[in-house]
Subunit: 138 residues, 4 copies
């Protein structure tokens, strides 16, 4: 499943645009990092909320996929993000992990921190849905 | 306030990265559009959930700011996005509008649709906070 | 399906406890009302956030069920509630309606207002799941 | 502050209605329990989602208040609840704790489990607002 996740990740043009890097895949936990540059900022020059959310979403999605049967695909049903603190840093880490893996739905939590993981910028709750290989996209 | 919103928007490097366009500002409602290209895709070639969320967040944020006192700034406290349907289209429209504008907090709703506005891809509920000019970022 | 919804509603001991009344069922929209009394208050004597949320959840759930195939049952996957204004009133109305009805998941929105429906106390986004008659509860 | 929280809790008519018990108050963490009976059920006889949410909300709210300056009051801005598993048990425990305490807003997380705390029924993310004693309710 690790190979399938890497292949899927590499097809995401948007992750390339963010310069995001898939640094770790374990069953039920995925980590993605991202460096700040001028293309990722909000109006004060910090990481945009949309960047934090995007990499947290992908970390949660692949964490969910890592716990699904082989051949599955994953789509985000919904997520909620709390912005705890402005992300005034030059590198962020998003960790997504599975809270409960079901046949159809998987609940995940995500957290976006600094490199030292002692400052939390955002927390996410996400619901993911498992698509079998023969299902159409909703 | 319209001029202040345009200036703030133009400082957002991430909006340039998305190729997003601020097409309308009215008091309590802001509209942003975005064209699909290879840099904005998820693994199936459609608009990434993170792109939908990012422009909906910005539309909600500036809708909130449009109803705040002059000299205010806005930050996103939290949002929730529901992904109703995969965004298989070449252009999306995000409309953010204010539900309740308070002295400190503003509640907004966002919706992301196709150009004809007859297919909804995502809906957002967002809470925004008003920062006075003399306040530090949290 | 209207009869099935009424029967299911009447089995909810908690709705009796709230003194809630199921006043309208249409395909995709359900309305529930509730009168204030001393058993439903928060610390300032207004309707408790939990009461607003509970009747909005049930209105959304049965709105979803009203659009599902006969014999289905419904469970709440998740919801988010925004508390727009303290519910200083003696009767509230919760209206739930379907945004998108899918085979497995249904997206709903709920709103809790006063009787005149010109003051909004809370808004809800909810995801509901359809259980076929032969499925076990998760 | 512990005394102030107990007094505020005891004014909540709705907590009496649920038969909920405030069992622990520490700075930044509050625990509430609730026993199942016929007045708290959904259509299958389990704890109603509204009950889980209500006690999690109150646990989060008082966890937030426990970290605020003396004389403060607390209101719920918004929350999101994920329903991980049907609460088929005769007693539930809701634990709310503070993620980030700010001057105006406090972010909390809540979790509802069985007594042994090895089965999670629901998780909550909540935003609370601090009201100074001289402020009116929104």
């Amino acid at each position: 499943m690790i190979e399938a996740i890497k292949q899927s990740y590499n097809k995401q043009g948007f992750m390339k645009t963010l310069g995001a890097e898939l640094v770790s895949i374990k069953e039920g936990e995925v980590i993605i990092t991202c460096h700040l540059n001028d293309t990722l900022t909000q109006q004060h020059g910090f990481f945009h909320a949309g960047v934090l959310t995007s990499i947290a979403d992908v970390a949660c999605g692949y964490a969910a996929l890592s716990a699904m049967p082989k051949g599955s695909d994953v789509l985000t049903v919904e997520f909620k993000t709390n912005f705890i603190k402005a992300a005034k840093t030059d590198k962020i880490i998003a960790k997504g992990h599975v809270i409960k893996s079901g046949k159809t739905l998987t609940f995940c939590e995500g957290v976006v921190t600094n490199v030292e993981q002692n400052i939390t910028y955002a927390t996410m709750q996400a619901t993911m849905i498992c698509l079998r290989s023969n299902q159409q996209h909703k």
